[in-house]
């Protein structure tokens, strides 16, 4: 997870930091289909083999 932080200084001189997930950083995507064309996590039915 990548977190983005933005710091501001308030009128009374105290700081404040906003933290949020940096969604511009792409997560490692797990391919939905394998090389064989089977959908991940879905068992092949015997009739399709």
């Amino acid at each position: 997870m990548k977190i983005k932080k933005t710091k501001i200084i308030k009128a009374d001189g105290r700081y404040l930091v906003y933290y949020e997930e940096d969604k511009s950083v792409k997560k490692n995507k797990v391919p939905l289909f394998t090389k064989e064309g089977n959908q991940r996590g879905v068992r092949r039915r015997k009739s399709n083999v």
Binding site: R14, L16, Y18, Y19, E20
Partner: protein, 323 residues
């Protein structure tokens, strides 16, 4: 007025912070100072209309970056010092009526990153020797704002409880060439009966020497000294185990369970502390659904805790609770 006053009898500092008497005390829900600022409504501590997690300097700090000169003169017996340090508030979510236990693992995971970042940033200041991350939850603990939040006190000295743990673990290391906390962890894992929950990176248990009936400690399985040493996986696994423990607490008596949660890790004074071991401790005040464990005569006056329960039985009880 704020200053450190030395107690020569117990050899520890006491912080006087008289301005804290004026801090916000149970504001009505519409005037929560740590909710987002809504259009046309009063300006809270947080100017944005929405946020994820926010950290800001406490308006009523016990320690101050620009601490003023003590109001009283000290001498050899009664030493006084500026109460220098930084006090921060961490707001876990913009939602008012919720708790940390009710946050998603993803949100708690973000919080772990924030803790890590604050530890590193605050610890990088030369005058900060110890970064203390904690949460007080529940009115019985003394919480005066219901919005879910935690705090960080950055000390200009190493607080006494940490000093004591550093000393005992150093003595153990000198004598046996091993980490005291790793040995406690090994013993608890082998004994099994005090374990509450484990995952690949952390172990939660009620220690053999628990002072409160439901006092859970979470130790890092790896011998690491600070949150800054955590891997990506450890950050996620800490979020997961915290969620489990806090939900177990809430489900134990079917109430939002009050607690004090503290994080113990190495000081940030630049010295090496290979004898130390990162951990979290929970001190929940309830001993049954309707009874509170008060720190009375023996605890407050003699420094000895009387625990009315057996850690093995309480751990078994917590193990059985769903989350």
């Amino acid at each position: 007025m704020s200053e450190l006053r030395w107690n020569p009898v117990l050899e520890e500092w006491v912080v006087t912070a008289t301005h804290r008497q004026d801090r916000t005390f149970f504001p009505p829900p519409d005037f929560c100072p740590i909710c987002p600022t809504k259009k046309g409504k009063f300006e809270t501590e947080i100017p944005s209309e929405n946020y994820d997690i926010v950290v800001f300097e406490n308006k009523f700090p016990s320690f101050n970056r620009n601490a003023s000169v003590p109001a009283i003169l000290g001498d050899e017996l009664y030493k006084v010092k500026k109460s220098r340090g930084i006090c921060e508030v961490i707001v876990y979510t913009p939602e008012h009526n919720t708790t940390l236990a009710d946050q998603s693992v993803e949100q708690i995971h973000k919080l772990v990153y924030v803790w890590k970042d604050r530890y590193e940033e605050l610890g990088s200041h030369k005058f900060i020797k110890y970064v203390f991350i904690f949460e007080n939850k529940g009115e019985v603990i003394g919480v005066t704002l219901h919005h879910p939040h935690g705090q960080i006190y950055s000390f200009s000295y190493i607080p006494p409880k940490i000093q004591k743990e550093l000393l005992s673990s150093q003595k153990y290391m000198n004598k046996l060439k091993k980490c005291l906390f790793c040995d406690i962890l090994d013993k608890e894992i082998k004994f099994k009966k005090r374990i509450v929950y484990t995952n690949k990176s952390f172990t939660a248990f009620i220690p053999f020497f628990a002072r409160y009936p439901y006092e859970v400690h979470i130790y890092a399985n790896r011998h690491i000294q600070a949150i800054s040493d955590f891997t990506e996986k450890e950050c996620l696994n800490l979020a997961k185990i915290l969620k489990v423990i806090m939900k177990k607490y809430d489900n134990l008596f079917e109430m939002s369970f009050p607690y004090i949660m503290v994080m113990h890790q190495k000081p940030t004074d630049g010295k090496k502390y290979n004898n130390y071991h990162w951990h979290i401790e929970f001190y929940p005040p309830y001993r049954t659904k309707n009874k509170i464990k008060f720190l009375a005569g023996c605890e407050s006056g003699a420094g000895t805790f009387i625990n009315d329960t057996m850690a093995e039985e309480k751990a078994k009880e917590l193990r059985k609770i769903k989350w």
